[in-house]
Symmetry: C2
Subunit: 405 residues, 2 copies
């Protein structure tokens, strides 16, 4: 008998038939004697429908009221899921985030969980019931309804698993687990049996859409081992956990490609102290997230200048250009170039810490394929390069073949 926290996303509970499927799976676990806490998202489409209504009312809805509105999506799913379990003869009780004791700060639409007091959950488990908890939502200490932002239901599940000291935390989704690469691009990609938190974090931040970084960080911080698996079959998924000795034997765990970046280059920036600080402070003030930064000294006749390149989200490109152009009189660069046709190709693996020459091997593979490298960025367990978008998928397959197979 184990205490299991399961989380089902919007697609897994997308209509009443799917909710019944979820209930059947939960019932199977319950019948073999496990205690179950089931976290569910809003039915797919419901949250978007509510946002559409809000936008019909006003283009910029108040965030407290948006939380009041959006929290109803998950509340509907918990009630329907509990009913579906009753129909199978399984005792089940639904709880809103607030009722489940999920206390957050007051930052509406992206609240952070402060603590969890799972008294009601414990009591209901004790009574033999399956407890269905609304994901994505909580309550401030003074009783305001909050939501946790994107990926919030994963966070609810992992935080509950931590608070309840659950034996198992399962994140059910519409993919079989975490893959060595996106199988739609790399046909030879395969599902991983396990991956470390840090690798998962790098992959998440590199555009692999399985989970938001925040939930993985939370799991790492509280040592919650969780499994990403499919709600459409019974295949085992991918276990995400602290890195082990055996994991270091594998140099590259996964390859990811982010097509969503754009590059800005400032040509001829006067090489004086404080120039870079000015530029990136201005971008930060405009809430523009800068990813990679590269700077090269130019050797010319006049006073020393540098070329400065960095990448931002494609969606922020226009805004970033405006911020930069406004700085021209102050910073005094010669020209701004922008390039949307780039891809960021990354390899990730904790094994890199104990293996040398990995970067060299990657560059060699790319060179062999005639692919030019625009920018390079590395961390302890990751190497990323910016390359031409047109060749990026080909490059990804080549790198995957070289390191993984």
């Amino acid at each position: 008998m184990a205490l299991i926290v399961q989380k089902y996303g919007g697609t897994s509970v997308g209509n009443t038939e799917r909710i019944k499927n979820v209930a059947r799976r939960v019932a199977d676990y319950h019948r073999r004697g496990d205690q179950l806490v089931v976290v569910v998202s809003a039915m797919s489409g419901v949250t978007d429908g509510l946002i559409k209504l809000a936008k019909e009312i006003t283009p910029l809805p108040n965030e407290r009221e948006l939380d009041m509105l959006l929290a109803t999506g998950e509340q509907q799913t918990i009630a329907l899921t509990a009913m579906a379990l009753h129909a199978l003869g399984i005792p089940a009780v639904s709880l809103t985030g607030a009722q489940a004791g999920i206390v957050t700060d007051g930052i509406h639409t992206k609240a952070r969980i402060r603590n969890i007091t799972p008294k009601a959950v414990h009591e209901l488990l004790q009574s033999g019931a399956v407890v269905i908890v609304a994901g994505f939502q909580g309550e401030t200490p003074d009783g305001q309804i909050t939501t946790l932002g994107r990926g919030g239901s994963d966070l609810t599940a992992i935080a509950l698993a931590a608070a309840l000291k659950a034996d198992l935390c399962q994140i059910y989704t519409d993919v079989d687990g975490v893959y060595t690469a996106d199988p739609r691009i790399v046909p030879t990609a395969r599902k991983l049996d396990e991956i470390s938190y840090d690798e998962m974090l790098e992959l998440a931040s590199l555009g692999a859409k399985v989970m938001q970084s925040r939930s993985v960080e939370f799991a790492k911080k509280f040592g919650v081992v969780f499994e990403v698996r499919s709600s459409l079959n019974d295949n085992p998924g991918t276990i995400v956990k602290e890195e082990t000795k055996s994991m270091e034997g594998i140099v590259v765990r996964g390859v990811s490609l982010d097509k969503n970046q754009a590059k800005i280059t400032l040509v001829g920036v006067p090489d004086r102290p404080g120039m870079a600080a000015k530029i990136f402070k201005a971008l930060g003030d405009a809430a523009i997230n800068v990813d990679m930064i590269v700077q090269n000294i130019s050797h010319g006749d006049g006073p020393p200048t540098t070329d400065l390149s960095f990448t931002v989200d494609k969606a922020d490109l226009l805004k970033a250009r405006k911020v930069i152009e406004a700085l021209q009189p102050d910073v005094g660069f010669r020209q701004v170039l922008a390039n949307e046709n780039i891809g960021k190709l990354s390899i990730v693996g904790v094994g890199m810490k104990s293996h040398t020459g990995v970067a060299g091997r990657m560059f060699e593979v790319l060179a062999r394929e005639g692919i030019n490298i625009d920018m390079i960025s590395t961390s302890e367990i990751k190497i990323s390069v910016i390359i031409d978008l047109a060749r990026a998928e080909h490059a990804m397959r080549a790198v995957h073949a070289a390191f993984i197979g």
Copy 2:
């Protein structure tokens, strides 16, 4: 400056355009300096849609979970209404029933309000905000979400008006107020300026669909004067209040027709003590509501028998027949007759208390029109007759013409 509680039903908030209209009306009151508490229902269709989802899951959903599900309908409307007020520059905060301090018993799907602790409402009003409260819902002392059953949003408004000692309580609906008769049947029917609680109660229980009895009873008990008016125009509505001397000058306030009754007659019931008790206890045990009862002694050759007639809701007719037929061996009546083709025509007015001969005048009108009276029932302020359904609307117009004009 007044403290006003307004309630808007599902049709008045049926889509985002209508919610904006509601917000404009509320904003007008707020701008002239009134303090406003606005109670809203679920958008029309939302509750039915949720019930449909629940029925797709299971034919008999658990009532606690049904409350969890249905309460989301009003929660969506409060958020959208608050946003619509913000868009007009009016400060507004939405509160769920629980947040507004509406405490109920634990009878899910038809909970009763136990008490209201409107601390949050007071504080928000004090701060200058319009307070938007979810109708139809509350919370038990231990934090379970409940709903109040049919007409629950009216009840929320009237109970809040009582708890807040509001100066005015306005029930906005899609009709202009309370009419002397249904204008679709009686073209000369006119809107009443005022009506007493007791008259309103009789009309409510007689099939006039403006409001549920429960809300009127609550208003009477706590002396809440309220106005029924239209959300589609600015016409004054009908004031509902304790009866005054001047009201007694009018003998008949309104005429109503209930086409939803059916008559059952037991022929040849042995005239022994306890027979009626057996019959109506059995119907009560089956949760069948009996309205009118008439008993006549038969004078025949054998032992004395009676004929017993009563009316029930048409929806209960089949069930009632089964209950009665099961009693045959025990009670020993000769025959059961059922008639669905009846109408219950009623006249209501507190003036009847001080005027004599009203019943006689009504029967005279019906006789003149050649309409046979099947059953008669009277109270202090009401006379009801059961007549042939085919002539019922004609009879209604004749009685309205005779008493009201």
